[in-house]
């Protein structure tokens, strides 16, 4: 009797969404505030070299130390946050637009167009990791604009998939049938009736997309195919710092910390969103 009582399956509750939100927002706020401050002022100019203060360890004058050209790491980290945030937001905006524009009609109309769009999306997803984005940059040249477009294209199928599946579920609901019977045009149904109901699914996907895009962008910048010098980016800073890994570990630690804070903050927020939105019953 006691045995049965003990093994009775306890329903497991995942941690409260508010924990995820608060940790995520603190981490993200740290990076975003750095970015906002960098728009107005940085302690030193991020590109100013100073032969007298090369490879200084963190000290009151240079809280994050200096690199092999005597540039202030704090100022460079601040200016690098600009590209990280800008590229991820712009890239996600592009893939969000492409994804909804292709995914909702694919799910709504079905048929051959749906097959074609999904096949194209699946083919794009067959290129592992940053491969396709690297090729695009190799062909069209490395620049911030090209990186944004390349990443936007690479991530579009993810959003298209979310939109398509969501649309296929929603279009079976009574109020859509009712709207159709009333003679509402498909375009109006898709924009006014279906899209707003996709937002709960698109929101976590967007936040995760921001994080993944940052992973990709920093990887590309690390390889020298993303943000081009002399502009600072976390990836490029880390690849430059590698030669000094033993003498100046702070060159690695601080950019890596900012990068991980940004990505981790986004992950935590998306986790919070997932918990909040799944309270409704699904999964």
């Amino acid at each position: 009797m006691q045995q049965i009582k003990r093994t009775k399956p306890k329903t497991y509750r995942s941690p409260d969404a508010s924990i995820f939100y608060s940790v995520g927002i603190v981490l993200l706020a740290f990076v975003v505030l750095t970015f906002i401050v960098s728009l107005f002022a940085t302690p030193y100019s991020p590109d100013a070299t100073d032969a007298a203060s090369k490879l200084l360890a963190p000290c009151p004058a240079h809280p994050f130390g200096t690199d092999n050209f005597g540039r202030d790491v704090l100022s460079r980290v601040m200016s690098a946050s600009k590209y990280t945030i800008f590229i991820s937001v712009a890239g996600v905006a592009i893939s969000l637009i492409l994804g909804t524009v292709s995914g909702i009609p694919a799910g709504y109309f079905g048929g051959l167009a749906d097959r074609g769009i999904m096949l194209l999306g699946n083919s794009i997803m067959c290129f592992p990791g940053i491969l396709l984005a690297l090729v695009a940059v190799a062909v069209f040249g490395a620049s911030v604009t090209n990186v944004i477009w390349a990443l936007g294209l690479v991530f579009a199928p993810t959003f298209a998939r979310v939109c398509r599946v969501g649309t296929m579920e929603i279009k079976e609901l009574d109020y859509i049938t009712h709207a159709r019977v009333m003679g509402v045009k498909p375009l109006r149904i898709m924009t006014l009736h279906i899209f707003p109901n996709l937002v709960p699914q698109l929101l976590p996907a967007t936040v995760i997309g921001l994080a993944n895009m940052t992973l990709f962008e920093s990887g590309m910048s690390y390889l020298g195919l993303g943000v081009q010098p002399p502009d600072a980016s976390f990836g490029k800073m880390l690849s430059d710092a590698q030669a000094y890994i033993r003498v100046a570990p702070w060159l690695i630690v601080f950019p890596a910390m900012m990068l991980v804070f940004y990505i981790l903050g986004l992950y935590f927020i998306s986790e919070g969103l997932r918990v909040t939105l799944s309270k409704g019953g699904k999964r």
């Binding site: 399956p9 990791g129 491969l131 981790l264």
Partner: protein
């Protein structure tokens, strides 16, 4: 039986169509490059006759459709042209570099499975307990660290704390197999870290979900031990979703290894890819890109088939 065969044939057709589309995408990407390749190779001083000769030699004077099909044929006979920069067969170049990339991915995958499975099983036994919470928090953090950053941090740790320096030394598997695996351990671990977190997370939630299922309670009331229920009933049911996750992880590992090779100075496909990009060696580049995508497509295909064998209900969808 009809359904099974039909499903496999359907998947096979899907595989072929996807491969064809992937090859078209790659070919199209490299056909719209601005500029004349022969002119770029010979430089601005070459005469038009020389350029035309080289164009004919490279086969660039033929119509696009014919070039596509000859390239496609070359791909499946593992001879998709000659590299401009290395003056070697693309297939041969790739075959030379493949052991590094494949070996690293395989070691990383083994690490993912060996570490994430036991952890997930232990964590899921008592969800919400301190150990589980700690694992989950560490998992979240690891998930956010890009593989190349993890590599740098590992190098930092290895060189400063343990005073080891493994980066930059590559041992060929034919020379010393143990040394080959040894030099791949650190890079593989760096790629595996975020994927361990990912696999742990999915497996853990999948086991927790299965444990509350009715059949677990029934087995329990029939007197089966916890271990037996776990091994015979819960894990096989969790496997279905983890097959899909594993194929995604494998493709991510392959993509991640391209960057991590660069950090550790390993002569794999990633470095070949980067040198092809910087030298604008398009036959080599398109070959590498296609074969990497090819491996991924095959992986997804295998995982679809494996998932359908593990859970026949998938075939009905």
């Amino acid at each position: 039986m009809q359904g099974k065969a039909g499903y496999f044939v359907g998947k096979l057709i899907e595989l072929l169509v996807t491969l064809l589309l992937v090859s078209l995408l790659v070919f199209a990407a490299f056909s719209i490059i601005p500029g004349d390749t022969a002119r770029v190779m010979l430089g601005p001083d070459a005469s038009q006759a020389q350029v035309d000769l080289l164009r004919a030699e490279l086969g660039l004077d033929r119509p696009l459709v014919i070039r596509y099909f000859s390239w496609l044929f070359g791909l499946f006979t593992f001879n998709p042209g000659t590299s401009y920069a290395y003056n070697m067969s693309v297939g041969e170049l790739i075959a030379q570099r493949l052991p590094v990339t494949i070996g690293m991915s395989a070691v990383a995958m083994i690490m993912v499975i060996l570490i994430s499975y036991p952890l997930a099983v232990i964590s899921a036994r008592k969800p919400g307990r301190a150990g589980d919470q700690i694992c989950s928090v560490i998992g979240h953090i690891l998930f956010a660290i890009p593989p190349y950053v993890a590599s740098l941090l590992l190098i930092l740790l290895a060189s400063s704390v343990f005073s080891l320096m493994t980066a930059g030394t590559y041992v060929k598997p034919s020379d010393d197999f143990a040394g080959y695996i040894g030099c791949l351990l650190l890079p593989s671990f760096a790629i595996a870290l975020p994927k361990i977190a990912m696999s742990f997370k999915f497996l853990r939630s999948s086991i927790i979900e299965q444990r509350t299922a009715d059949y677990v309670r029934t087995s329990k009331s029939h007197g089966l031990s916890d271990l037996k229920i776990l091994v015979r009933h819960v894990l096989p049911n969790s496997n279905v979703s983890s097959i899909t996750i594993i194929s995604i992880i494998l493709s991510d590992i392959l993509g991640g290894s391209l960057i991590v090779e660069q950090v550790f100075n390993l002569p794999g496909l990633g470095r070949l890819l980067l040198s092809a990009i910087s030298r604008r060696d398009f036959p080599l580049l398109s070959g590498i890109v296609f074969y990497l995508a090819f491996i991924t497509v095959i992986l997804y295909f295998i995982s679809d088939i494996a998932a359908s064998l593990a859970d026949p209900r998938i075939r009905l969808k």
